[in-house]
């Protein structure tokens, strides 16, 4: 009976770890590796785990346990990925007990440090303006891209956190960037609308789903790879539509 309880707790821990990692944007090889390591060190015999970007299924045939964990939201927070991975290593080395791992995983979402919004905004503005110069834009467009990128990212961030609609946020962010660039050029504060738009759109590019899609497909997690690739494609299309609306009507 006691062993049964322990296996149940172990499965709970493994599933929470997997869920946290997939929600934060880890690649599937890493998730797989961490979950199997946790399960083996927690004493589950012959664990069987099947994970996709939208859910995890796990069973332990020896103790007749099966669990399903749906995953509904996906955000990007790579620090969580790193921390869950470190936690599983510490558990493997025997520095933490199963109960401690469980407790830390449950607190993970609130204890992980996060760059506050002003820092993110500054980072987005810097990414926009520096990439503009790197792509061969003129230094005259440095500050227009700085502000357009910042405003666009603020709109994207606000809609994403407040209303939680994924693709509309990219569309409106790109739309606002296009409007900013078009007005800046019309009032002769910048020289090239194209370069300002290209630079300012960069912080919205779906880098994590794109990279993970390639990695997952190569590692044999074809289902996850295709679903991530589709997500990245729709994000990219949303950005394109936002810019196209501006180019068509303004």
């Amino acid at each position: 009976m006691n062993e049964m309880k322990r296996d149940e707790l172990a499965m709970e821990v493994v599933l929470t770890a997997g869920k946290l990692m997939i929600e934060s944007g880890a690649d599937m090889t890493r998730v797989d590796d961490t979950m199997y390591r946790l399960a083996k060190n927690a004493g589950i015999k012959e664990p069987r785990i099947f994970e996709t970007t939208t859910g995890i299924m796990m069973s332990a045939p020896k103790s007749k346990l099966t669990r399903i964990e749906p995953i509904n939201e996906r955000s990007i927070n790579l620090e969580v990925v790193s921390r869950v991975n470190d936690l599983s290593r510490a558990f493997q080395r025997g520095e933490l007990s199963l109960e401690e791992v469980d407790e830390r995983l449950n607190r993970m979402k609130t204890t992980t440090p996060f760059f506050v919004f002003p820092w993110q905004l500054l980072a987005a503005a810097i990414v926009s303006s520096t990439l503009l110069v790197m792509y061969g834009g003129s230094f005259l467009d440095f500050f227009p891209a700085f502000f357009a990128g910042g405003i666009g990212y603020a709109v994207y961030w606000y809609i994403n956190t407040r209303f939680k609609v994924k693709f509309v946020s990219e569309f409106l962010g790109a739309l606002v960037i296009g409007l900013c660039a078009s007005f800046v050029v019309r009032f002769h504060l910048g020289t090239s609308m194209g370069m300002i738009t290209i630079g300012a759109v960069m912080p919205l590019v779906p880098g994590v789903p794109l990279t993970n899609a390639v990695r997952d497909v190569l590692a044999g997690h074809i289902l996850s790879g295709i679903s991530r690739g589709t997500e990245a494609l729709i994000s990219a299309c949303a950005i394109g539509f936002g810019i196209a609306v501006v180019l068509r009507f303004f």
């Binding site: 944007g25 890493r30 440090p113 880098g207 180019l247």
Partner: protein, 151 residues
């Protein structure tokens, strides 16, 4: 003189852009510096090959390959997952210019020109993926030989 200025601007700005993207993705603070260095290496490879051989496919492929290798060494050195160093470094390689032109020609109804730019976007994305794949392959072989330890 002009060349030196060009290189300094590229190195400094690429470092800032990569670290900035790292902040947006919330990379652990102790990995941000390495992240910037990998990004600079990738971008320098891209710029050099693009200017010397005027081939944007080869440049993207080799840049993605060197980013993959750099990320692998940083991951082993810092004992952190590889994707922390990969993702922000790859962002400057995104074919933004071609994608913008494709969207613009679609918007004004010149579909034939737009399609040719779209094909270019696809080919550049494909060459980045192949470079990435090669780096992944080399790292797999490396781990097979030296044993799969912490990364």
């Amino acid at each position: 003189m002009n060349l030196i200025l060009f290189l300094i601007v590229n190195v400094v700005f690429c470092y800032m852009a990569t670290v900035g993207f790292g902040v947006i993705l919330n990379i652990p603070r102790r990995g941000l510096n390495e992240c910037g260095i990998v990004g600079v290496i990738g971008w320098l490879v891209y710029v050099c090959i693009k200017d010397c051989f005027s081939s944007s496919m080869l440049a993207n492929l080799l840049a993605a390959f060197s980013i993959g290798m750099g990320a692998m060494f940083c991951a082993r050195f810092k004992k952190m997952p590889m994707i922390l160093f990969n993702i922000p470094s790859l962002v400057p390689l995104v074919p933004g210019g071609q994608a913008y032109r494709a969207v613009r020609y679609f918007a004004i109804g010149k579909n034939d020109l737009a399609l040719s730019y779209l094909v270019q976007v696809g080919m550049i994305a494909g060459s980045i993926a192949v470079g990435f794949f090669l780096a992944e392959f080399v790292s797999q072989v490396y781990f097979k030989i030296h044993g799969y330890s912490q990364q």
